[in-house]
Symmetry: C2
Subunit: 296 residues, 2 copies
């Protein structure tokens, strides 16, 4: 890609949010792909996890996170959280004034592209699996596909404990994934941003012939397409400025973040997100209440 030939350059940052640090696997792919794009990341670590919460709460949180990014003047909002993507993207697309990209659509598209036997496994948090978002998205693209979904609630705590290649991990992976293997899937969507860190155990359990789809990689690809299409690419070759905001500073954050990002995080700012929400006033949030409870 030689983006210098594009007429305009939009130096505004790419906004990315997640319920915590998992979205950094998406940021990692964005950093790889875009040398001149700045990124503003918001990790809602004070309210993590989203995966066990109701749809209404997830929509509300996703909206609040997006508004925070818009206040930072982002040109696009990347929902780097499978749960929020599954539940809140249609609402966000309707409300926000900038393009919105979730991780579901790119992951589903890639799976349909890779699968030959049309047997596609999907793993994720309970909320992501319950939402059936990947299933709907895949069936829209490939109505004859057979989708085998499996919630793996213990995978996130395993990653956060650092047990990514451990006897326990293999035992739990076997329990969760044996059904997928028996169903002879040839493609498996890692429907949670934490799961790329368990790639080894997952690949060994489902068998090395199964193609694992990393939504971070596919989402970075989709971001490129949408920036191109909307003429939003930063084409001026200058050092990007990246900002990382968290609503809470979790224990061992730097260590965990670097495991996800595979590089060091220079500057992280912890913000009092509740004060931010309070500061905007009750009226501001009230106007969005209908959107949160609407059926999408």
């Amino acid at each position: 890609m030689n983006s210098n030939h594009l007429p305009a350059s939009d130096q505004r940052p790419i906004g990315v949010f997640d319920s915590g640090v998992g979205g950094l696997t998406v940021v990692k792919q964005l950093l790889k792909k875009f040398p001149w794009e700045s990124i503003v990341y918001f990790g809602d670590t004070a309210r993590i996890p989203y995966g066990t919460k109701s749809e209404e709460i997830v929509r509300r949180y996703a909206l609040e996170d997006s508004i925070f990014l818009l206040d930072k003047n982002v040109k696009v909002v990347v929902v780097a959280c499978n749960t929020a993507s599954a539940i809140a993207v249609p609402m966000l697309k309707e409300i926000l004034t900038v393009p919105v990209i979730g991780v579901i659509e790119p992951g589903a598209k890639a799976a349909v592209y890779y699968s030959k036997n049309r047997k596609i496994g999907v793993i994720g948090t309970a909320a992501t699996i319950r939402s059936n978002s990947y299933t709907k998205e895949i069936l829209a693209l490939s109505p004859e596909a057979q989708i085998i979904p499996q919630a793996c609630p213990l995978f996130v705590p395993l990653v956060e404990e650092g047990w990514t290649d451990d006897e326990t991990t293999y035992l739990i992976a076997e329990r969760y994934l044996q059904g997928l293997r028996l169903n002879n899937i040839d493609t498996l969507i890692l429907g949670c941003t934490h799961y790329p860190l368990l790639k080894n155990a997952i690949q060994k359990t489902v068998g090395k012939k199964v193609k694992l789809v990393d939504s971070g990689v596919e989402t970075a690809e989709a971001v490129e397409q949408i920036l191109k299409k909307n003429k939003l690419l930063a084409t001026i070759e200058q050092m990007p400025k990246n900002y990382f905001f968290l609503s809470d500073m979790p224990y061992k954050f730097q260590e965990i973040a670097e495991r996800f990002l595979e590089r060091s995080i220079p500057h992280v700012e912890t913000i009092n997100f509740e004060n931010y929400l309070l500061g905007k006033g009750e009226q501001f949030w009230k106007k969005y209440q209908t959107a949160q409870t609407k059926k999408y």
Copy 2:
């Protein structure tokens, strides 16, 4: 106890809060002990878990949860969450106008009472263990005690997955608890309200001679003492009214709650806690900000 002989009767409810449903193991013990006391329970399921968050956030959440209970006219606040007890109880005792009881002090007292060899194990979430609250509390009572702490971050998700008596559970329990067994403890504090549901696996792993201290049981005992001392007991024999409030309705709540409570929950109300906080206004919360960041 024949409380009919007490002169006064305070019919106000006992307030109990937790980050989620775990505190119901404490409610279970309160219901057993007090036939005439009403209970107002608040489970902050929209922001669960507290165990992975910073001290400042945990203090803020604990304060907000307590204020909500005070708005329901409770006569005592029971902090049925180990993380919040470990981190926020000193602050709450200073700020609140009613007695405050956490689960740490009763658990520590009981352990000191039961232990003969003075080798006491403590298990809990990462935040509870890091806070050293049990250690400080035990050492204040028994300076010669030897305390062996162990964080068990995977126990909560195991309970919530329902894998309480499973091959995986035993393997994980062995990894976490073998050090305690080798240290020859004779008493083990279950420093997390979820852990009583893993009693079987824990007991088998540490050995049947080890006394397990269930903080729910000990806390109910402490509540009785404080109500007596402050003449706050409900002594009129009338049917208590129990109210359960949640900040989010998690998937399978009834099923999980009944597993914790060992009885059915008749009525649960989901409240929009964020709107509740917003409704009180920025000024209201601002006055507590110093207390949250103070060193206790």
